[in-house]
Amino acid sequence: MGSATETFYDVIRRQGITRRSFVKFCNLTAASLGLGPVAATQMARALETKPRIPVIWMHGLECTCCSESFIRSAHPLAKDVILSMISLDYDDTLMAAAGHQAEAILQETREKYKGGYILAVEGNPPLNEDGMYCIDGGRPFVEKLKEMAGDAMAVIAWGACASWGCVQAAKPNPTQAVPIDKVIRDKPIIKVPGCPPIAEVMTGVISYILTFGKMPELDRQGRPKMFYSQRIHDKCYRRPHFDAGQFVESWDDESARKGYCLYKVGCKGPTTYNACSTVRWNGGVSFPIQSGHGCIGCSEDGFWDKGSFYDRLTTIRQFGVEATADQIGLLATGAVIGGVAVHTAATAVKRLTSKHDPHRRNDQQ
């Protein structure tokens, strides 16, 4: 898939893309990263002069939705950008090579670009039974992952699987699937969660690394701040209905038709950090809330295990039965009120009977 010494600009010019389109792309990407016009020039220069970064894209336990999202990046140069900006040396779902040929590329890249390639991981490794639940090229995926991570410059964790574990790590997690930062401990990891992440966010992260030659600024949980520092809720166009107290109560009510806030039907926007409400999906066409469904919080840790997607109050399983905080609280409050009532009655009985006790020491006036 091309030599890594070629620049991105060389490749797209060869493919017949005009310089005008190229500059447009730089401006759009710089804007989506929240950077100023100067950054667009920097980006153009970097893409013209820097050799393309070799990228190894590995697949563990996953559904390929991250790849599906990635190849649908809506920028004008979509396929060219993605496949030209980086030197995608290995991606078993996209590459033509297969079998031993494909495996050879892994070893070649690891040796030729030691410490200089980016390892992009889609999916995660299961650890149970020595990793036998995910065999890739005749070996447990976890072994291959550790091996390739050992010589990488940096690691990108694509999607909820690689970042948090996602559905295969949801309770009871029979295969013991774990996020990749549980097995890769000595390399910087950029988490780009989402199920899948937004295409523009994925290309944005790669553009940033290529342009500036460094990792984007990460938040406390290892996510790029530029895309994950605000909640869906903070930029939601239905937010005025939330503040006004106008909520959808059920899916077929008048409020749903009027496009009110989906908070009461379980929207996880207030606890979900992602760029959906600003970047949106499919080329900025829409995002779940705009389509009338609450956010399910797919870019958050363990989102499968946080109760129903359609309840505001999360159900708690620790008490044996599934109940919300309010159900548990009301039950406990009722029990305590009952206890207090019984205690009051007992106190009253004791006091009345002790009045007749001739040996009573208490001499209250």
Partner: protein, 243 residues
């Protein structure tokens, strides 16, 4: 009550025997009482608004621009929460200036035998196994433990989770996020923090029920004043016997 000094000898507090004179003892200084009642008001507002934040009231009619109901509910919650937090800090400061009873809620003397004995005796009193309770100037050991658990530990937990949740709105660069962002290291998905904070509300509701019941009951049943002490700060004793 016309007590003389002799009547009040041998009154016990949580730590040792002290001999006091006079008809009543000034226990809870003004800042402590102000904090107590301010705290009670804040907690009431926080519990009511907190319940509505979890289960919002029915949908408002009209345009979104016509009302700001949920905004006001959240505002009241955040305002009361910050007042509660500042009052808690002020209360800690007062422990350095105030009398020995102002320090009581911030620690429990687990190293003292008398305190353990006091707990057992108070527990027996509530189980109707004791004829009468001891007299205490400050909190009795059982109450003392409850106050420490609720007003120091639990209150702090609610303040920390509360500010962590508040930082989600103020943004990642805010001082709230810098000071309380570590909470997200423990619970990366803030939905969990919402759930715990909400469960915490019910713990406080339950505590309030027991707290009020115990105060009223002791006011009637014990050998000393309770409710009037919470208002005036003065503790009066109803008999002159020791213990």
């Amino acid at each position: 009550m016309a007590h003389d000094a002799k009547m009040l000898t041998g009154v016990m507090d949580a730590t040792d025997d002290v001999i006091v004179a006079g008809p009543s003892i000034y226990v809870y200084e003004a800042p402590v009482r102000l904090w107590h009642w301010g705290n009670a008001l804040c907690i009431t507002i926080l519990a009511v608004t907190g319940y509505f934040i979890g289960s919002p009231p029915p949908t408002m009619p009209g345009e979104a621009s016509d009302s700001f109901l949920f905004g006001y509910i959240r505002f009241a919650h955040f305002a009361a929460g910050q007042v509660l937090a500042v009052a808690f800090l002020a209360r800690i400061l007062w422990a350095f200036w105030g009398n020995k009873y102002s320090r009581q809620i911030f620690y429990i003397p687990v190293w003292e035998k008398t305190w353990w004995k006091g707990i057992i005796r108070e527990a027996r009193w509530y189980l109707f196994l004791e004829k009468e309770p001891y007299k205490y100037i400050g909190h009795n050991p059982l109450a003392h433990t409850a106050m420490f658990a609720m007003f120091t530990l639990f209150n702090l937990g609610m303040i920390i989770t509360g500010f962590a949740l508040y930082s989600e709105g103020t943004g990642r660069d805010s001082w709230q996020a810098k000071a309380f962002g570590w909470v997200f290291d423990i619970w990366p998905n803030s939905q969990d923090i919402h759930t715990l904070h909400h469960l915490g509300m019910w713990v406080i509701v339950i505590f309030a029920i027991i707290h009020i019941y115990a105060a009223v009951r002791e006011d009637i049943m014990s050998r000393q004043t309770m409710i009037s002490t919470m208002i005036s700060g003065e503790r009066q004793f109803r008999d002159e016997r020791e213990g």
